[in-house]
Amino acid sequence: MALLEVHNLVKAFGGLKANDDVSFTVDQGELLGLIGPNGAGKTTLFNCIAGMFPPTSGRIVFAGEDVTALGAPEMARRGLARTFQVYVAAGDLNVLENVMVGCFMHTRSQSKARALAEGILDDIGLRDLKLNLVSELPVAAQKRVTMATALATSPRLLLLDEVAAGLNPSEIEDIMAGIRHIHADLGITVMLIEHVMELVMNVSQRVIVLDYGKKIAEGPPRDVARNPVVIKAYLGERYVRERKVSSDGDRHEHHGRADS
């Protein structure tokens, strides 16, 4: 059964079509990858689905209901959670309190929210950090906090936006294990954006590729990786990226714009 259906979605910013006639479905229980070069429109697509802003045209159906016009809070209440690619936690909330905010979506009671949040933190392996401010944590832990906070709303569909960006290989292993756990053990449908293709290939059952706002390919990871159109879309990108990696010898840090 399709949990999410996107029909002919267009999102234009002035003259620029960040999403151009994109259609796809996400099945209940699936782990779907969404890849594409930088600026392809992946984050914009998430923002449209999550109700952060209305699409220019097209239709979005979630759990059998047309949700195209709904705002972000309504989408959250219907069971859609998402993380943010760029999240600057400047506030004074500690890790536990951050997750509690998500829990408060379903309860008014502070003690219930707290108990729920503690459970999630144990599950995600953040128990020892619960009293730290999010801003004082390393990037990898911050990413896990944003995942835990999204999970706290008990979603049916979880949208993850580049949760592995900026992490080193062993941290990426950890976060991928976390995603598998959320998908397999908690039974949550997951849609995963990743800029680096290889990561998505490992965990996803199916992959969608965006380029310049258009869907250029869709299918099992292995087929998509061999698709000449996809290779072409990525080639220029990768060339640039590899040159950058070799020139500063650093881990691949990607340059995302602030999503807003």
């Binding site: 952060m52 998402r82 999240y87 909330l93 309190e97 502070q110």
Partner: protein, 335 residues
Amino acid sequence: MEAIRNALDFSDFPRIDRMVALAVVLLLVTFPLFPHSAFAMATMIQFLMFSLYGMGWNTIGGYGGQVDLGKAQYVGIGAYTTTVCLLRWDIPFWVSMPLGACLSIGWSFIIGYPLFQLKGHYFAIATIATSLVLKDIFEVWKFVGAARGLGILPFKYQTPDFLRLIFKEDVYYYYTIFGLFIIGLLYMNWFRKSRLGFQLRSIKDNEEVARSLGINVHWAKIKTYAIATAFVSVVGSFHAVYVKNIEPEDTMSLDISILIALMAMLGGAGSLWGPIIGAGVLIPLKSYLKEWLGAAAGLVGIDLILYGLIIMIISAFEPRGLWGIVEKIRRRKRI
């Protein structure tokens, strides 16, 4: 039940905080028993009043991060409601005070809806504008005495009058405002742990994230603005019977709005103790400055200079105020 338990539960603060708080409360309870001047008593009452104003401001301004510079209009609504009710219909304080709060809340919904479409500096400036507009209306409104305001003549009442809250001795006012102070403090202790409190802190942190967590940001701000408003209005009503002479200028001027915000920001916006610390520092300072220098004409502006200085110091060094400094030191010790 849980709400009451939460209001009375201060256990998440370190022991030292609770000891100091208890000592301060004991000091406040016993203060009138010690020999004191009328000036000291007046300053203490001002301190309690401004602590309450600051607590109210702290909900939307501190926890919610929405810098509200128009709180004085609600001092005015509370004060005028109580005074007009008493003078025209002899309605006692304990009826006119909640009535004033209801009027304030109603007005806050009307202007809150458009106000919170604005963000940051635009919001702050718009709050100033709304407050000044209301003040201008009161300055020409005959029914409420226009620019000359209204006066309550205390000798018309048999004092002490606990229903109308008309007293000759300040000590009665002191304990009344102290009672409200304790209620306000307990309410704030509940508020910071409530769902709305968490939602606001999330909004202050990042509105997009807050929205994605199911929070109706606009509505949460409007609701909180109404709570802040109710605090201010109640103290405004108290101000009316305590001072017994109200004018638009001394209830609704920009000075008062700024002083309310500044107090909370100096002490520590978004913390329980912040507004109390801020009032504890600023009110005596202001009173004594006025006492020593204010008589000399032309020097009255000195407190404005002082406010300006404090704003600059806070924004340059520690946006979270005096309490922010304490927390920073604690954090450093813990790590």
